[in-house]
């Protein structure tokens, strides 16, 4: 196959853009149509979410791994190179989104003509707006019976200050007006401002791992050119590489001789792990260093969960599946961990909740592995006041991931918890319930705005730990599915945190200790005690199940002693069956975790610690 000559496309004929939208508003369908119109893919009925390659993406209707595509389009006699840079579809990946957007000069903002503006539409709009990108509003699904594009245009005008006549009404599914969108991209989005004569400056905005060729980095050129044989350096790692291959994505990899300033494509340069091509990094030519592009930061996990094999015999299989999956996702942090109850496993850090779910789902679907995932926790911080501890840690502020490391109040001047700014868009009839829910979650209202006669946008500052377990499910169920939610990182705030212990007959159970807000301790302690009462089998003596803060007991349940459990009938024919059962129980003794004299089966821990899967 002959390599393309990309010098045919000078900066003036290039447009780099993204499509941003709330889940299911039609981003992927619009992308499919754009690919078809430009002849990038042939037009068949099978083109469904061409850019969403993972099973989990198709099932959830979200983009996890951004894919990009270069489109060629002739408009008014000029050949244009349009680079569609896909973005992950959730704020868990907001850093990746911001990096992808920084390679663009404009976005297509897709809004469903029936559902109107949703929480993620708002979040995405502000990301694009703050990046000073041109925004092309598109109202999709006008073919639907309940479509009300006029109402949606008014919402867009009210919330985003975009005149109603700038919205393009389309049906991506039927292809209506899609060509118009392409023309608007050329007319409204400016070409990138850069020069091929400058030294090489390339932004890494994504990377994937290929078993044969190593890391494939997606790059956008902010200056200069790049070709096979060039020696390049990573601004972040300072490592040197020799370029093996460059090319464009259509959306499959297509090698080219070179890539020039303003263009978007891929690069293969002998990088062995994705951590070597971190998103946001800048690449430059060896001995021609440039000022790195702004905004680089390493992925920072915000949600942690323990992951354990269901049976310890599966530990090695799970280990290799984890290794393979993290090859493609360097934003997951992995630390070995072990629990007396659950055995050897890992503590994983994720960018957010959806990231965690998607990771777990990919582990199950792509590697056929089932795991125990514990309820997620968030990283707390403590500002130390004890000179001894400050000396010990070598700093006066520490991050606490494991409750066992929770420093005592006496040696701490302040505890801090992570917060997020949440956006909720809902029909107004659910406002009362939603406000109550948010208050229950210790959230503080920051904004409330009617975006039309019957839709409201609410903004709340949430402690992150209040939304990591079941907030989204609760919100969905109390609004009959109509409210949407999105959030962004909002830093740390001071919080009245305490460590809650669970005691069985007075002995603490290490793996059940939790860090929790003082206001929530009582209810959480009661719930935990109740769940334990249901899951720990009765024993020969009474068991006190208690939640305690320090020496103070805040909740108690009592599990009564067994009074009778001897099987009634045991004659000649019952013995074999009976023996089998008893031997299994005797075998189970070995796996039982003993807290003092109380035996707690592994299942009981699993049922208490495990994250309840979303419906």
């Amino acid at each position: 196959q002959e390599k393309l000559d990309m010098s045919m496309y000078p900066v003036e004929s290039i447009r780099n853009f993204s499509i941003i939208a709330h889940v299911d508003h039609g981003k992927s369908t619009l992308a499919d149509r754009l690919l078809e119109i430009t002849g990038t893919i042939s037009k068949t009925a099978r083109n469904k979410q061409v850019l969403d390659k993972l099973q989990v993406e198709r099932e959830r209707g979200i983009t996890v791994k951004a894919q990009s595509a270069s489109l060629f389009y002739n408009h008014e006699g000029i050949n244009y190179l349009l680079n569609l840079i896909d973005t992950p579809g959730h704020v868990d990946f907001s850093y990746e989104v911001s990096r992808s957007l920084s390679a663009c000069q404009g976005v297509i903002l897709v809004v469903d003509a029936n559902e109107g503006i949703q929480a993620q539409t708002v979040a995405n709009f502000y990301l694009a707006f703050e990046a000073q990108l041109s925004i092309i509003p598109v109202i999709n699904k006008i073919d639907l019976k309940n479509a009300d594009p006029e109402r949606v245009e008014k919402q867009i005008e009210k919330l985003f200050d975009i005149p109603t006549d700038e919205c393009i009404r389309i049906s991506a599914k039927q292809g209506t007006n899609v060509e118009k969108v392409l023309q608007k991209v050329i007319e409204k989005i400016p070409p990138p401002q850069c020069n091929t004569a400058d030294p090489l400056k390339a932004l890494v905005f994504d990377s994937t791992f290929d078993h044969y060729r190593g890391v494939v980095a997606n790059i956008a050129l902010f200056g200069g050119e790049i070709a096979k044989g060039h020696k390049i350096v990573s601004a972040h790692t300072k490592k040197r590489y020799e370029v093996n291959e460059v090319g464009i994505l259509t959306p499959d990899e297509q090698p080219t001789h070179k890539l020039y300033a303003g263009q978007v494509g891929y690069l293969i340069a002998g990088m062995k792990e994705v951590a070597e091509a971190q998103i946001g990094d800048t690449l430059f030519l060896y001995k021609q260093p440039v000022e790195p592009l702004p905004g680089f930061k390493s992925a920072k996990p915000m949600v942690f969960a323990g992951m354990y094999p269901i049976h310890q015999t599966e530990y090695n299989n799970l280990k290799s599946a984890l290794e393979r999956l993290t090859l493609n996702d360097s934003s997951v942090t992995v630390h070995r961990d072990s629990s007396l109850a659950l055995g050897a496993g890992w503590r994983l850090g994720f960018l957010g909740l959806l990231h965690m779910e998607v990771f777990n789902q990919r582990l199950e679907q792509e590697y056929n592995t089932s795991v125990i995932l514990t309820a997620p926790t968030v990283p707390y911080k403590a500002v130390l006041s004890s000179a001894k501890l400050i000396k010990e840690y070598g700093k006066d502020q520490i991050t606490i991931i494991n409750p066992a490391q929770f420093p005592d109040k006496l040696s701490v001047s302040e505890y801090l918890e992570p917060t997020v700014l949440g956006t909720i868009v809902t029909p107004h009839e659910y406002i009362g319930k939603i406000i109550t829910l948010c208050q229950d979650r210790r959230a503080v209202q920051k904004d409330m705005l009617y975006i039309d006669e019957n839709r409201v946008m609410l903004k709340y500052l949430f402690p992150l730990n209040e939304i990591v377990v079941d907030f989204y499910d609760t919100l969905k169920s109390l609004s009959s599915g109509y409210a949407s939610f999105d959030y962004e990182d909002a830093g740390y705030q001071s919080a009245d945190l305490i460590k809650m212990d669970i005691l069985l007959n007075g002995n603490p159970v290490e793996e059940l200790a939790t860090i929790i807000h003082n206001d929530k301790a009582h209810a959480a302690g009661k719930l935990l005690c109740e769940r334990l009462k249901e899951t720990i089998p009765r024993q020969l003596f009474e068991i006190a199940i208690q939640a305690a803060i320090g020496k103070k007991i805040i909740a108690r349940e009592t599990l009564k002693a067994y009074r009778k459990n001897v099987v009634a009938k045991c004659y000649g024919g019952d013995i074999t069956r009976r023996m089998k059962l008893l031997k299994r129980q005797a075998e189970g003794k070995r796996l039982m975790r003993k807290i003092g004299n109380v035996e707690v089966p592994r299942d009981a821990f699993i049922r208490v610690l495990k994250r309840e899967p979303d419906k």
Binding site: K564, N565, K569, C570, G572, G573, L582, A586
Partner: protein, 414 residues
């Protein structure tokens, strides 16, 4: 002790999960020939010289004709010595237990009747259990209340049950056993206490007392799971059991096994043979046995199960003389494990002598007298190890199933 099984019933009771069959017509002659043949084969294989008991279980063995019972007993007597005093029990169902029928069984050689619900053993019904001891039990009236009987799907009425017990007592004085069931859905503490009083007025010198277990797959279990009938609480069941123990002991009964009470020495010899881990031979569809097949030159105790399904079992007996479907050699440890879980069900527990029979090298004291689970359980008051052997305390017996996994685990580590 041979235990011949008669696997057929007229109607399946709502709580029963035994290997029983309701068929329109049983070719009794063929079944009889097979029971006789299998009893002969297995007795010969065991080389047992004297049989201490025979137990006809089921199914509903009282549906069989006295001639069948007689034929099996003749075969047993021919293959081994059957002493005149040997216990021969027949399980009987109140509705198939007229005085004349019972008299017929008596003439055939039955000398003990167990009347009641078919509340017995699990899968293996009672076929003639062969060599060492065998007992036949009569059918116990599990309940003496018509509404309860209907719920249990029993074919008989309370009046019939009463009549059957009276008839059996007349013919087998001091050797009639009844079954009592407690923990029926909806049964109250008071209702049970009353039921117990009525039973005491009716019973002979042996009572088997069973907590109703809801076996999976039975009609009754489905009704309880579906919410149509209430399940009794754990505490209520414990109270009922305690009440029964107290009342029966006060009435002069010896609580000699978890579910069995006897006075005037009317213990079931046959059933004791299970709990003492003696040898027994199971004869008939699905019957279980434990014996050393010395006829083959073996010295190892085996766990044997006969073919479950009657037609297949008969075919096998006809072609090869027996319908043994599975035989597993029990290791010395497995034999001790069985002795442990069975022996602790009795009031005498496991004597040093009996333990020594299975474990000549390692004494009871050596295994359970050292620091470990058994000592802890002794200190907590559930268990006793003394010159009489190892046994449960009064409180320990009720929670035996919580003690056994600990004890087995300790035994396995020795």
């Amino acid at each position: 002790a041979p235990c011949p099984q008669w696997p057929y019933c007229r109607k399946r009771c709502s709580y029963c999960s035994f290997n029983t069959y309701v068929v329109p017509a049983v070719d009794e002659g063929a079944v009889r020939a097979c029971l006789v043949r299998e009893a002969q084969t297995l007795l010969r294989l065991s080389q047992v010289h004297s049989v201490s008991s025979v137990f006809f279980g089921g199914g509903t063995p009282s549906l069989a004709s006295p001639g069948t019972v007689a034929a099996v007993l003749e075969a047993v007597a021919a293959a081994a010595h059957l002493p005149a005093g040997a216990e021969v029990t027949l399980e009987a169902n109140p509705s198939s237990t007229s005085t004349s029928r019972l008299a017929g069984f008596g003439a055939a050689g039955v000398n003990r009747i167990s009347i009641g619900v078919q509340v017995r053993g699990a899968l293996p019904a009672a076929a003639p259990k062969a060599p060492c001891d065998a007992i036949v039990t009569a059918l116990p009236p599990q309940s003496l209340d018509d509404a309860e009987l209907r719920m249990l799907g029993r074919e008989h009425t309370a009046a019939e049950a009463r009549k059957a017990v009276e008839a059996a007592r007349g013919l087998f004085p001091g050797r009639t056993s009844i079954d009592l069931l407690f923990g029926l859905p909806g049964q109250s503490r008071d209702a049970w206490a009353q039921r117990l009083e009525v039973a005491l007025g009716l019973c002979d010198d042996h009572i088997s007392l069973y907590q109703l277990t809801l076996e999976r797959g039975t009609a009754l279990a489905a009704q309880v799971r579906g919410g149509a009938l209430p399940a009794p609480s754990q505490d209520l069941l414990a109270d009922m059991y305690r009440t029964a123990r107290t009342v029966l002991v006060a009435a002069g009964f010896r609580h000699y096994e978890v579910s069995n009470f006897a006075r005037k020495g009317a213990l079931s010899t046959h059933n004791l043979s299970y709990w003492r881990a003696d040898q027994y031979i199971g004869v008939g569809p699905g019957a279980h046995g434990r014996f050393v097949p010395r006829g083959e030159g073996s010295h190892s105790r085996e766990a044997r199960i006969q073919t479950l399904e009657p037609v297949a079992w008969m075919r096998e007996v006809q072609s090869q003389g027996h319908g043994t479907r599975s035989r597993v050699v029990l290791s010395p440890l497995e034999q001790l494990e069985e002795l442990l879980i069975l022996g602790l069900r009795t009031d005498e527990g496991i004597t040093h002598e009996r333990w020594g029979h299975f474990s000549p090298q390692l004494s009871l004291q050596a295994v359970f007298g050292t620091p470990g689970e058994a000592q802890a359980l002794q200190q907590q008051g559930w268990l006793v190890l003394d010159s009489g052997g190892l046994r449960c305390t009064w409180a320990g017996l009720a929670v035996l199933d919580s003690l056994l996994p600990d004890l087995l685990w300790q035994l396995q580590r020795v």
